[in-house]
């Protein structure tokens, strides 16, 4: 049976082969590095995608690489060692900034780039949904969030009013 470390190694291989550029884990898996476990069913990976040209994204290089390595593409996911991995374009804006500012954290002796908590919260709020709200709460409760940095991001990405209404009113900050 494969291990999660092998999934991370496969992502590194994708980068070394030039199929993706710099990347960082997002979604629920990223939150695990900072806070208590919350449910997730896929692995969100924010990555620079060299095959993107303007608004058009050519997925063929990614699918060809995946098939050559025995990882089946399935809808918008790649099944890497049995884990559904979703590659999310980080070629600009918040996602690109989140990758650039990601932290390198250890997983079983392997360095993994992980989106920082403040960026995770910003991305969660933009995506919306109850499960993501649960992750925001978990990150705050774990003391993983630099509130000043988060407020700056909220202002930059026009989320300040949502943040103040939902969380600062509850005295989290």
């Amino acid at each position: 049976m494969a291990s999660l470390r092998q999934v991370f190694e496969a992502l590194d291989q994708m980068r070394e082969d030039g199929v993706i550029g710099d990347f960082a884990l997002g979604g629920g898996m990223a939150a695990l590095f900072y806070a208590e476990t919350t449910r997730t069913y896929d692995l969100d990976v924010f990555a620079y995608l060299p095959s993107q040209r303007g608004a058009l994204l050519d997925l063929h290089p990614i699918y060809e690489w995946a098939e050559a390595h025995g990882f089946a593409p399935h809808a918008e996911h790649l099944l890497i060692h049995g884990v559904p991995v979703q590659l999310l374009a980080a070629n600009g804006g918040l996602a690109a900034e989140a990758v650039a500012e990601a932290r390198t954290l250890d997983y079983e002796g392997h360095g993994v780039r992980v989106v920082a908590p403040e960026f995770l919260i910003t991305l969660y709020l933009i995506a919306g949904g109850g499960r993501r709200v649960e992750r925001v709460e978990a990150l705050i409760a774990a003391g993983a969030v630099n509130i000043r940095r988060l407020r700056a991001l909220m202002g930059k990405y026009a989320l300040a009013s949502m943040w103040q209404t939902r969380w600062e009113a509850d005295d989290h900050a």
Binding site: M1, A2, S3, L4, Q6, V7, L32, F33, Y34, A35, E36, T37, R39, T40, Y41, D42, H74, H77, H81, G82, V83, P84, L105, D106, Y107, E108, A138, A141, A142, A144
Partner: protein, 58 residues
């Protein structure tokens, strides 16, 4: 009321301890949660392919 306060405090401490667990242990918990969810949900509806538990080790 003191009992309530103690219970909330104990719960808060438990969540803090969960957050401080080693990442490998958190992944083990995640895999266990996926397996538990799968057993419950599959009785009620057809699951999406991506809702299957990950067949990996932490």
């Amino acid at each position: 009321m003191p009992d309530d306060v103690d219970a909330y405090e104990a719960k808060r401490r438990w969540h803090e301890e969960q957050a401080r667990l080693p990442i490998k242990e958190k992944v083990r918990i995640l895999l266990e949660l996926q397996r538990q969810d799968y057993e419950l949900l599959k009785r009620h509806r057809t699951l999406e392919w991506w809702e299957l538990p990950w067949d990996i080790e932490p």
